[in-house]
């Protein structure tokens, strides 16, 4: 294994004197840009000032590094939350997950105006259907790209296929941007995204020592869904500068597994009830975090490196990871983090997640670890009933 010739690490653990906890007040300036800049403005500015075209991307797994290498701004669509609005609202049946329904309504009502196209990974039956719906029946006038990632165990045939899909996507991105593929830019992008993952891992693993509320932390983490990677890295660095030497979080620590932390007031409800998230297995966050740097090889073809990074991400049902492997990952995460309970935050009708439920239940029940199931449909806010469940769970663990 060769040493990674990364840029010098800027992150150092700053030994600060222990400060009284006031999780409500941010102790650093985490934002790289003024909070007044909306996502839409940001996208437009990236285009004007940096010549970066934006691509809307549906969840979950896609080669973001490749988009970065082409100077394409990825704008992930995890919703938006709230009831689907506009003409597109009724085009998907009510038994289709809210993510697809909301995304379709959003795209159909002009939400895609600032972006140049949409990318659909092969996440599940619904997103696969959404891609063809938008592309073939949607009268959508922008390019629709697809990324078919392999399902099942990482066999040789899956590797071969993934490489071919990556190359195919690269060709489409070349056409989309009018730029040729530059292998060195792919390598740079790979290193940049590894840096980002390393920082995110640092923040999540050192959660106890971070004087931020869950809402504040996740706000920063989730800005990575649409910020240009370098801007996101700058914000992550700023946050990690606020790390304390000793634990500062006082609430009941929980592991969360699920799709996406929406509605955001779930995080506030947890805080008010006296709990916080100490370990993360959200598809939007923890499940796309590559901790290991063993994929790197200065000799290897950049597409091989992309493929290696893809297979190194934590187990996720949308990549049809083996449930046994997934349970081992989760129990390991649970034990290392010192969590006391597990919050299973489900998106209603999400089949990949739902099929793993029996495993989750029996794995954690065998360890005597309580689980709380919150099932939502990406509502704009949490109902009083869900708040009661959270409070009861925290009362149970206190």
């Amino acid at each position: 294994m060769c040493l990674l010739p990364l840029r010098p690490r800027v992150i150092r653990l700053i030994r600060m004197p222990a400060r009284p906890v006031d999780a409500g007040r941010r102790t650093c300036s985490a934002r790289a840009l003024s909070p007044a800049v909306t996502r839409k403005d940001y996208i437009l500015r990236q285009r004007e000032e940096h010549g970066r075209r934006a691509l809307a991307v549906l969840p979950v797994h896609y080669p973001k590094e490749l988009l970065t290498a082409f100077g394409v701004l990825a704008v992930e669509l995890w919703g938006p939350p709230g009831p689907p609005r506009g003409e597109g609202a009724g085009r998907l049946q009510t038994y289709v997950c809210a993510l697809a329904r909301n995304a379709l309504a959003f795209l159909a009502s002009g939400g895609a105006a600032p972006v140049g196209g949409v990318l659909f990974p092969h996440t599940c039956d619904t997103i696969q259907g959404l891609a063809t719906l938008v592309s073939d029946l949607g009268e959508f006038d922008k390019p629709v790209l697809t990324f078919l990632h392999p399902k099942g165990p990482p066999r040789a045939s899956a590797h071969t296929f993934l490489l071919a899909e990556l190359r195919s996507l690269a060709e489409e991105l070349a056409e989309f941007t009018g730029r040729a593929l530059e292998p060195e830019r792919v390598r740079e992008a790979l290193r940049l995204h590894q840096d980002i993952d390393t920082h995110r891992a640092l923040l999540l693993d050192a959660r106890r020592r971070l004087p931020l509320s869950d809402r504040e932390l996740y706000e920063v983490l989730r800005r990575g869904e649409w910020l240009w990677p370098e801007d996101h890295l700058a914000e992550l660095r700023a946050v990690s500068a606020s790390l304390h030497a000793e634990p500062v979080q006082k609430g009941v620590p929980l592991l969360v597994t699920g799709y996406v932390p929406e509605p955001a007031d779930l995080l506030e409800a947890l805080g008010r009830a006296g709990a916080y998230l100490v370990a993360d297995d959200y598809a939007a966050v923890g499940r796309r975090l590559v901790r290991s740097e063993e994929w790197f090889d200065s000799e290897a073809d950049p597409f091989r490196l992309l493929a290696r990074r893809y297979f190194l991400a934590p187990p996720c049902p949308t990549r049809s990871a083996d449930p046994g492997e997934r349970m081992r990952h989760l129990t390991g995460l649970f034990e290392r983090s010192g969590a006391r309970g597990v919050l299973v935050h489900l998106l209603k009708f999400c089949e990949p997640e739902l099929f793993d439920l029996p495993w989750l239940r029996s794995t954690f029940a065998a360890r005597g670890v309580p689980l709380l199931f919150i099932e939502g449909e990406l509502e704009a806010s949490l109902s009083a009933r869900e708040v009661t469940r959270i409070e009861a769970f925290v009362e149970m663990l206190s």
Partner: protein
């Protein structure tokens, strides 16, 4: 001066409140339909109860628990477990069936909650299901036990949705099915859904207790016993269990036995 405590359960359908003495006996109680505007009702009833128990600490639970002045809010899960435990003094499972939600709560030998599950999204698994359809059938709740006992055979209701079930029942009546059989079928359908909720947790042995307004419906208790294959013990004053639990959490002494006979209002 005997230690006293007030417990308030501000539900979305009914408002329940109790005054407990130091030994945990109910010395006063109130049950009335809930006013959606919460505070005026809370204030009025607290005034009344505080005349019996001036200066007593207040424990609050239920949907409106955070709107109770100087009340210590705890969720109805914790309070129902506490109230049930006070009665049995051992671990068990409580099935609470209210007007708008159904809860299954497992508590341990110390009265602490070990696991819970709630159905509050779909009316079909709650008392509301029976209420709506019995009203449509024109069968008052008081007659329900008679109807189900006199039914030869239950008429199966397959719809899982209250609205669908209502139209299904209308069709069944139109095609001449006996009301008694339908009433029995409705109870079985509800018992089946409650059973799913019950089995979503693991409750192998121990006592199964019942609370909530629906526990007063003997036909429902029987249907549940049949479906779950367990004996259902209906707690005395089943609607007050949550309020009692809330009061117990603020009662200065550690006691909490509830005597066999219920106590009436002052």
């Amino acid at each position: 001066m005997k230690a006293l405590a007030i417990g308030v359960d501000v539900g979305s359908t009914t408002f329940k409140a109790v005054v407990l003495d130091g030994a945990g006996h109910v010395i006063a109680y109130r049950v009335e339909p809930a006013d959606p505007r919460i505070e005026p009702q809370v204030d009025r009833l607290l005034d009344e109860l505080q005349s019996v128990a001036p200066g007593a600490p207040i424990g609050a639970t239920g949907y409106g628990r955070k709107r109770v002045r100087s009340g210590r809010p705890l969720t109805e899960i914790t309070c129902h477990a506490r109230g049930a435990f006070a009665h049995v003094r051992e671990g068990g499972v409580l099935l609470d069936m209210g007007g708008q939600d159904t809860k299954v709560i497992r508590f341990g030998m110390d009265g602490r909650v070990e696991d819970f599950a709630m159905n509050d999204k779909c009316a079909a698994g709650t008392g509301r299901f029976l209420e709506v359809i019995l009203a449509r059938l024109g069968v008052p709740l008081a007659n329900v036990l008679y109807e189900t006992l006199s039914a030869g055979k239950a008429v199966s209701i397959s719809s899982t949705c209250t609205v669908f079930a209502e139209s299904e029942v209308v069709s069944l009546i139109a095609s001449g099915e006996p009301v008694a059989g339908i009433v029995r079928g409705l109870h079985q359908a509800l018992a089946s859904r409650v059973a799913s909720l019950f089995h979503s947790g693991r409750h192998p042995g121990g006592r199964v207790l019942m609370s909530g307004g629906v526990a007063l419906n003997a036909a429902m208790v029987a249907a549940l016993e049949e479906r779950l294959g367990r004996t259902m013990e209906v707690l005395p004053q089943p609607q007050l269990v949550g309020a009692i639990g809330a009061a117990l959490t603020v009662l200065p002494s550690a006691a909490g036995d509830i005597p066999e006979q219920g106590c009436g209002p002052p």
